[in-house]
């Protein structure tokens, strides 16, 4: 079946890697490694920055990183891949959670919100040019990684629990300071990464791909 599928799509792929939304193998590798990175940031024992007292999950931090480094489409795809694997029953979410329960549970909306959250973060960072400032990155992380995720998470939580929007917002309020801090760290870490590895800026990466496509 796979061979057939490959043969069918070959004519389209002749123009694939150089066109904006086509996925080269380089993109494929980046997407899967970042999906894995988000999973690893939720592994117990991988990181306990503040000791074990504060059960902080760094996975939304990973979502912001993916958005800011991969750009709109690749980031959304990385989150989608992770969610498909979680739906298949793999314990890839923080605390070893996984399976279909998380998609009908109270935080389902926050989880689904990672998808547009990463995409919006990427979209904003892509508009920051070749050298986005920390302030720009922070804006992207706050809008995409916090704002968009809450915008989806709170109404879905209200719908699932049958509570009013206000009550759901009240329940989520406790997580807001932590998420804001994560956005600040994400902006600093992305800035550091992009200094050390310029190809981690979506705009630079795209230019490089374009240049490579013109061989």
């Amino acid at each position: 079946m796979t061979d057939e599928g490959k043969a069918l799509s070959q004519p389209e792929e002749a123009t694939g890697p150089s066109s904006g939304r086509g996925f080269s193998t380089g993109d494929l590798a980046r997407v899967s490694v970042f999906a894995a990175l988000i999973a690893v940031l939720g592994l117990p024992g991988a990181l306990n920055v503040f000791g074990n007292a504060v059960p902080i999950t760094l996975q939304t931090f990973g979502v912001m990183l993916a958005g800011a480094i991969l750009g709109t489409w690749r980031a959304a795809l990385a989150v989608a891949v992770l969610l498909v694997l979680v739906a298949a029953g793999l314990p890839l979410l923080a605390g070893g959670r996984g399976g279909l329960g998380v998609f009908v549970g109270p935080s389902a909306g926050f989880l689904i919100g990672w998808l547009p959250g990463a995409a919006v973060t990427g979209w904003i960072v892509e508009r920051g040019g070749r050298n986005p400032s920390v302030a720009w990155l922070l804006t992207a992380c706050l809008v995409g990684g916090v704002g968009v995720i809450y915008l989806l998470g709170i109404p879905v939580q209200a719908a699932i629990t049958g509570a009013s929007l206000g009550h759901a917002a009240l329940l989520s309020l406790g997580f807001l300071p932590g998420d804001a801090i994560k956005a600040v760290f994400a902006a600093l870490v992305v800035r550091g990464t992009q200094r050390a590895y310029p190809d981690a800026v979506p705009a630079v990466h795209r230019e490089r791909l374009k240049a490579a496509g013109r061989r």
């Binding site: 193998t25 899967s32 279909l100 109270p106 699932i160």
Partner: protein, 200 residues
């Protein structure tokens, strides 16, 4: 690192033998029914879910492991609803959440990860019309699974380097090297795949 085995519990009940697609459809229907059902219906739903768990024979420990993640949320929700609405409202909204999670958990417990992934891949097959190759999608999924232990290994190495430098408490000293090394790994991996002709 814990193994990526999923939560599947082997067994031979009729729930184990149902195809993954049927179970997912059943889950979608019953979750909608839970949302719309009156409080009286929820009492019946509790009995049905308990019966299904008994029939599946997955055991109490596995069942509890599925519900455990929402236990504190259930308590908080019950408290808030009890204070702001009333007792019946609190009971029914808490029950809805717990029952939906229990049902979804049951599907996960009785379906092999491979079967579920095959079903999800089949669902994604129409993406072919958007110019996405199904072969690439399954490569993407398996590559991600393979990357989890690799990135976890990178994280351990960065942790050790941090300990040696005495910067254990700095998130930046952890995340920047981790992300840079993950990106390096990804780009090398991409070149390796390209060299093996996956771009053609």
């Amino acid at each position: 690192m814990n193994g990526l085995t999923g939560a599947y519990v082997p067994g031979g009940s009729f729930l184990h033998r149902l195809p993954a697609g049927v179970k997912l459809l059943g889950l979608a229907v019953s979750c909608t029914a839970l949302l719309l059902s009156p409080p009286v219906g929820l009492a019946g739903a509790v009995a049905v879910v308990a019966l299904l768990y008994a029939v599946s024979g997955v055991g109490v420990a596995a069942a509890w492991a599925q519900i455990r993640p929402v236990r504190w949320f259930a308590v908080a929700l019950f408290g808030v609803q009890f204070l702001l609405v009333d007792l019946p409202g609190a009971v029914s909204s808490t029950l809805r959440v717990v029952l939906a999670v229990a049902l979804a958990g049951l599907v996960t417990l009785t379906t092999r990860t491979a079967a579920m992934m095959a079903f999800l891949e089949r669902c994604l097959a129409p993406a072919r019309f958007l110019g996405v190759d199904p072969f690439r999608l399954s490569l993407l999924l398996s590559l991600t699974l393979r990357s989890v232990p690799v990135v976890a290994g990178l994280a351990t190495r960065v942790r050790e380097a941090q300990r040696a430098r005495g910067t254990e408490r700095s998130l930046r000293a952890f995340a920047v090297p981790l992300v840079v090394s993950a990106l390096r790994h990804a780009d090398t991996l991409g070149e390796a795949l390209s060299a093996r002709g996956l771009d053609d």
